[in-house]
Amino acid sequence: MAELRFSNTHEWVKVDGKEALVGISDYAQHSLGDVVFVDLPSVGDTFSAGDEFGAIESVKAASELNIPIGGKVIAVNDALLDHPETINKDPLNTWLIKIEVASPIDLSHLLTLEAYEKIAK
């Protein structure tokens, strides 16, 4: 859990060597309500930190997803197409995309879980 870092737009990133997983926070899934659809990018798409990489939709809201750090998409969680509710059930363990991280990796603008939980109320 300690390796999760959060952006102030409520996404998290978990870096593991040259790769990273991206997902949304518990606060985000709670605000959205039941997730009905996730619009994810394609494998091969590249983004810079802060770029919009997709969108997430519930019955009452839709929100863009912003990538906390830059990189190239190497995998997309297709299971979410049929089971978007997994995001609500276990947001911190449900990844949306896996990226090959652009170097150098800069996490300085991101928050630790403790710091994030203070601002996300």
Partner: protein, 486 residues
């Protein structure tokens, strides 16, 4: 049990619901005229039903609906007033209904006069100089109005104006319309009193601003008392003011947007001017402008020239925004409405405002009024004062349905998270309002003493709460897919 049949499920092969007039003309054999690749290979799977089947079906389906004539319908920002029957009768005249839109003006003079007279009456009510009736709905009028604003700056050779200022209390169509035209939306926060924050406005004004979109009274039902100052500031940097006419009902007999400094506006005939909502259309969203922008109104235009009405299609304009002249039969209804009021039109705004304030005062000890101010024709509560049992606005709305009253607007404006926006309109009597007040107080009491009754409402409507998540996760949007899914 509620009536639960789709028309497709009533189909019996071989049954017909029509009589085709015999014309004495031989019917062609399509296969002898057209090549195979142009022809449909199978008949469309439409139902085969008799005329009585259709009538019974839709009669039963209609009974699942609540209309204005069923009961009180206090939807904030929608102005659900009585839709007079004479207006429907007026619109069904053959001289309106059987007229082709591409007929020559010589065959249309009285009709074009009615159309032009309506535009002139609306201009006068708006305090504007010219009105187009071509837009089909409020949102369409908004889009048209913003196109006029954009064209105005374009013709001045000013390409810097890329921003549109919109208050955070605005209706969703405002930023959507602005974005559709490529504007960057700059949102300004409201003051704690619910009004446009003048300092916040000053901070975002620059020569990159095309204009500001405002509703007045605003979506909280509060009159923007600083409107003249806002007008001065926005005009000062070369921007224009756009008025969203959703709340115009409050101003009939009280004030005119044109006198407040607005340059462009739309109004909603299906709100302020009593034309029926139709379950979601057809409406009509006329656009009115000050004289210096009149040349930009959409084509085609009806113009009086040398005592004759002509249809103008050439010359300066933003162009066409739809097929013909707008929702003409809706315009006819509004015309009849204005004629049925005559000089009494001035009474509407004051009575609408009286009704809203009366209801607000009687309920504010049970429902939380977040902003204590002078309201106009609508007001916003932020849920119950006593929220200890967890009863939310949604629950209150659903419980009202059990009592034969349509719920007010809920969860809008977004400024409060338990918004309940109530707009009684001027057509409701004190007795109706007192009944509504009693129901709301009863629900407030139930919320504390029998919360489940409210939480699980509605109990007496044809259907209960719907699984919207299921509908959005696995959308089944037509009969063919429904059959596949079962």
């Amino acid at each position: 049990m509620k009536y639960d049949k789709l028309i497709f499920e009533l189909s019996v092969p071989g049954r017909i619901g029509y009589t085709l007039a015999e014309t004495g003309i031989d019917k062609v054999d399509l296969t002898k005229i057209y090549p195979d690749q142009l022809l449909r290979q199978e008949a469309p799977r439409l139902p085969e039903v008799g005329e009585l089947d259709v009538v019974r079906h839709y009669t039963n389906v209609s009974k699942l609906n609540f209309g204005i004539e069923t009961g009180f319908y206090p939807l904030g920002s929608c102005t659900m007033k009585y839709n007079p029957k004479i207006n429907d009768e007026a619109a069904s005249q053959p001289g309106f209904r059987n007229i082709h839109p591409l007929q020559d003006e010589t065959t249309l003079q009285p009709l074009l006069k009615l159309y032009d007279d309506t535009a002139k009456m609306l201009s006068h009510i708006a305090g504007m100089d010219a009105t187009s009736l071509n837009s089909f709905a409020g949102a369409h009028g908004e889009l048209t109005g913003l196109m006029i604003m954009k064209a105005y700056h374009e013709r001045r050779g000013d390409s810097k104006r890329t921003k549109m200022i919109i208050p955070d209390s605005a209706h969703g169509t405002n930023p959507a319309s602005a974005a559709m035209l490529g504007y960057e939306c700059v949102t300004i926060k409201s003051t704690p009193q619910g009004l446009v924050d003048i300092e916040a406005l000053k901070a975002v004004l620059s020569e990159e601003v095309a204009g500001i979109m405002l509703t007045n009274p605003n979506t909280l039902g509060l009159f923007e008392t600083d409107i003249l100052e806002i007008s001065r500031l926005v005009h000062g940097i070369g921007g224009l003011l756009y008025y969203d006419g959703a709340n115009l009902n409050a101003l009939l007999g009280v004030a005119r947007p044109g006198d407040m400094g607005f340059d462009i506006m739309h109004m909603n005939l299906h709100k302020t001017f009593s034309t029926p909502h139709g379950g979601g259309g057809p409406g009509s969203g006329p656009v009115s402008v000050k004289g210096h922008l009149a040349h930009l109104l959409p084509h085609p235009r009806i113009v009086l020239k040398n005592d004759r009405y002509i249809i103008e299609r050439d010359g300066d304009s933003i162009g066409q925004i739809g097929g013909f002249f707008g929702n003409f039969l809706v315009v006819v209804r509004a015309y009849a409405y204005l004629k049925s009021f005559g000089r009494e039109l001035n009474a509407i705004g004051p009575l609408a405002v009286l009704n809203a304030n009366y209801v607000k005062e009687k309920l504010r000890h049970a429902y939380h009024l977040p902003i204590d101010a002078h309201y106009m024709h609508e007001f916003v509560f932020n849920g119950l004062i006593d929220q200890s049992t967890g009863i939310k606005t949604l629950d209150i709305a659903k419980r009202l349905l059990d009592f034969g009253v349509h719920a007010p607007t809920i969860y809008f404006p977004l400024l409060f998270d338990q918004s309940i926006m109530v707009e009684p309109t001027e057509v409701e009597s004190k007795a109706t309002l007192d009944h509504f007040i009693d129901l709301m107080l009863r629900i407030a009491k139930e919320a504390i003493e029998e919360p489940d009754c409210v939480k699980l409402a509605p109990h007496f409507t044809p259907v209960g709460r719907l699984d919207e998540v299921k509908a959005a996760r696995n959308p089944i949007l037509n009969y063919r897919d429904y059959v596949k899914s079962i």
